[in-house]
Structure formats: structure tokens, C-alpha cells
Subunit: 300 residues, 2 copies
Amino acid sequence: MRHLLIAKYIEKISRTGSLRSAAEELGITPSALNRRILGVEEELGVEIFERHPSGLRPNIAGEILLKHFRDQIADMDRVKSSIADLSGRRAGHINIATTREVVQYFLPALIKQHLLEFPAVTFGVNLLERGEAEVSLLDNTNDIAIVFEPLRLKELHTVYTGDQQMYCVMSSQHPLATKKRLKIYDCVEYPLLLPKRPEGIRRMLDIAAEKIGVPLAPSLESNSLDLLRLMSQDSQALSFSLAINLRPNLKNDRLISVPLDTPGIPAGVLVAGHLRTRVLPVAAARFLETTNKELTEKFS
Amino acid sequence: MRHLLIAKYIEKISRTGSLRSAAEELGITPSALNRRILGVEEELGVEIFERHPSGLRPNIAGEILLKHFRDQIADMDRVKSSIADLSGRRAGHINIATTREVVQYFLPALIKQHLLEFPAVTFGVNLLERGEAEVSLLDNTNDIAIVFEPLRLKELHTVYTGDQQMYCVMSSQHPLATKKRLKIYDCVEYPLLLPKRPEGIRRMLDIAAEKIGVPLAPSLESNSLDLLRLMSQDSQALSFSLAINLRPNLKNDRLISVPLDTPGIPAGVLVAGHLRTRVLPVAAARFLETTNKELTEKFS
DNA sequence: GCATCGTGTTGCAATTATTGCAACACCTAC
DNA sequence: GTAGGTGTTGCAATAATTGCAACACGATGC
């Protein structure tokens, strides 16, 4: 980069200790090189080299400037290499930590779409219990976390944060199927098919029930959201879902979803991000950006 | 700094989102600004902005470059401010952690000399037990450590490391006073005035005695090196000193110093440095450099 | 559909910054 | 004192940056 020429000039002089030697190595005249030093010294208002009969030596101001210049040169190399990554010349592997709700439909579709554009990228998807996904970022086991109702946000740099609408999923023939919206007390009269604790959905439901003073007595608990959904088919039982894991084309399964209102209770939050203190590899950064865009489009 | 102009140009465009607005704020023509973008894009081999009818937006490559440029602009500001410090426009406070041997003559003289040149600088000198000085750097309590026989070197960025010659200090009339050099077994026949453990001097003496299989039985132990020296006046007792804390003009005290050889045992090491992961304020960095030079001149 | 206004882009010339040439100044070693 | 190394300066040549004027494109309003 042209603008870093002066940095390279100063660095070379400090390395060789001689203006003439440095000029020769740089392929310019000593005269030109000398003027560049004088130029910098004028801009800074101080000398940066001590002039000895045997050559030039950086003084303290010079050492300070040199460190900056060396860092700048090295950092620009990293920028170029990152940009090379972008153009797909180097692929990348992305490790994602996620929870059950995200992994059902949203993430697979997103990964599929991403692979169309970046076929060389590889993925590791790690399904973890609520609260574990964020933790797995700490030792860089995973690059990105996409989690519903995370337990730890302190170390997370969140790129996306958004509310997730809760839905009640039931048979198309269910008595509640014709309602436009439901409340939790509409549901407790029917058998409930609930995720296990500490799932995010279960937590939201527990809170809502506690608010109306009615304990939830699940007919069935499972950590398989698919199973819960299927069990509600052609029955009186109710299962629950978030917007993100609503199965497309529920009608083909003789199912229907109705929004569940939980007034006075904050909506459940979906979060996507990475470890705060970490600079992501380009591939992972790009995927996270895509994730953010997709989530924003779908759920905002 | 002229070389950062391009950085400022790119940054301004991303801020305003419009080439014409940015050009106006920068006081140049859109044409010139556009050419500078094209220049960078040519150098990098990729576009850094998306062109919209409504203006320019950085793409991913652009965001990567922007972060670099923003960092460099900020870092150059720090460089300039550090250089301003150098010229004494801003003083500084220097906290020094040191051990007993250093604090007696060497450090006071060094600080005095430094204050002649930089009268606005202030000092805090913290006399600590062996092993504590290095630790006090960790939480930035102290800026610099100057210690004899440090216990921890891992976190230390050492600027000076040098051997310290051990001396036996005695009455000018002592039977050993005429010897050119002594060994530890020459000394053990006489009453010994020793520093307490874990002092560096004591450690060196313990090791030497252990090597010849004779335990040291001090007549007196003290953590006051001055007291030990004075107790050897006009007596058969022997005290010990390092080169760095040899009192000037011993003869005026009717004392003499004779080098003590400890063959087969590594000489005690004097170390000066700062916390490895820390960039020192300019004043402290300058003082440490002066310390290094002085130690190198005196003891190399 | 057309005119207007906003955006960015390009050919060419003017201006500024950088560089080279040649000579000079200073120091050290023999 | 001379030779050989170092850095520095006046002036002109060269390269990079900038401005001027015109163009291209998209969005909006009538």
C-alpha cells in the first residue's frame, strides 16, 4: 500500500542504521530518503533520529513512532489476508453452538443457503443445552452462538437480539384452533406437551403459568421438539413452538399454530453473537452477518 | 500525518454514506475522492464500497479495512501524545519497586541525576522484600522493578540483566584485609554479619557455604544493610555487599572491601524491567532506559 | 413519460508531493 | 593531509493527487 511507504522507509533506516544503505536497499536515492525523514520530523515537530558520523539511530520519539509503523505494516498484512479470505481464495471452518429451537429449520436452511454462495466453507454445528452454548465460546470451541434465552451475556458480543413470538401448536380440529390468539389460561385445560427444563420455551411457559397462579402439569415432557409436535396431531393435546422453529406447512400435518400471548412477561429473546474479546475469522464473521440479516428480515 | 489522509478519506465516506458529502466535508472535489477510492481498490484488488443510487456503503472488505484505518488513526494520536510527553510538556509519575541492595546508593543517585534533566517528574520508590517487587508490577502498582535475584521472571520484560560481584566488607585492620580476593572458606572462621533470608545476598552466601559443606552461623542477622556494615567497623566481624550497594569512600569509615569469589556458583543477577504485557508511560520508559544505560556502564 | 435532482464516474489539465542529480559538509582512520 | 564513509541541500524531473467539466444512472414528482 502506497500510503505505508513512509512507514517502510523509516523502518528500513532503523534496521540498517544508515541512510545510504537503507536507500540502496529501497531502491531510491539517499537524498529522497533524507527528505522523507525531514518531512516526518516536520509534521511531528521533533527529530526522530540521532545523527551520528556512523549513521542514524532512532531516538526515543523515533522508537515510539517505529513501533506504531511496525504494527501498522503488520496489521495491513492481516487486512490483506482477511480480504483474500473474503474472495473465497481461502475457505474456512465455522463452529456454531446452538439450542434446540434454532437447529430445527432455521439453521439448516441458512447453512444450505450460505453453502450455495461459499461452497468451500465447512460447518460444525453443536447442539447444546440452554446455558451451555455461550460457555462453549469461552475456550474458542465454537465461533458463533445462536441461542434462545441465553443464560450468560457478559462475555457475548451480540450481533442480533430479537424477540421470539410463542405459538401454540395443535390439531386442526382442536377446539382452540379457531381462535386468533391464545392466553396461557386457555391452554391449561388441555393436556400439555412440554419441553423439559431448562429449555427456553419451557421457561417462558413456566413463568406465564406462575403469573396466573396455575401450575403446569405436563402430560408429556421431552427434549425432542419434533416428538412434541407430532404428539399433538389429531388429539386434544397442545404443544408449543417459537416462530423460529415453526415447521413449514403445518397444515399438511393436520396441525395449526396460534400465537400465544403472555402479557406482562417479556418475550423470549433470541441472540446471535460471538465471544466479546475475540476477532472472528472472516468466514465465521461473514456467516454471522448473514445470520443477523436473515433473522432481522424474518423476525423483525 | 499526510500518509493517513487516505485513511481519513475512507473513514469519512463510510460515516457520511455519500461521496459528495464526504468530499465537501473534506474540502476536496468528489472527483479526487472517487479516484482515491479507486486507487485503494486497485491496490487491494477488490471493491471496498457498494455503489448505490443513494450513495456508498462499505462492503465486508471495506469494513475490515475501515477497522484497520480507524485503529491506525487512533494509534497515531497516541504516538503524537507520547511524543509530546517526551518533550517534557507533560511530566509523569514513576513508581519503582526495588530491593534493599538497589535502594542504598545506586537508585538515589540515579533519581537525582534524572531530576536534573526532568525536574517535573515525580517518583514513588517502594522497597519490597525479595520476590515481592516483581509481583507488584502485575496490578500496575509499580511501573518498573529493579531487583537483585528476582524470584519471578516470567511476567517481566527485562531491559537490563547483569551479574553483581559479591564483596566482603571488613575493618581496614582485619587479618583478611590484605588479601586480593577471598573465598567463602576464608570467611567462615570469623564472626559473620549476614542479611536475613530471603535477601539475595544471603541466598548467595548460603549456596556458597553449602557447596563447601560448612553451615553459616551468623553472629548477627539484620535486614538493615547499613547496620551490618557499621557492625564490621573495628572488629573481626565480616559483612557482605554487592557492587551496587558498596558505600563510596569506605576508607573514611576505616573499612575495606575485598571481592568474594564463589567458583562454580552462578553470580547473583541484577534485573531491571517492566511488566511484559504493558507499554510503559513515556516518563517511566525513559527512566528505565536511563537505568539500563547506567547499570551497563557501571557493571559491565 | 418527461424533467429535475440527487447520486457516482471519467477525460484531461493543473497543482502538489516525491524523487534524482550533483555538490557540499562533517567525521574517522591511516 | 587524504580517502572513504556518513548525512544534507539546491534545483529540476517525475509521479501522484487534485480540480474542472461533462457524463451516466436512478428515484421522485408532475
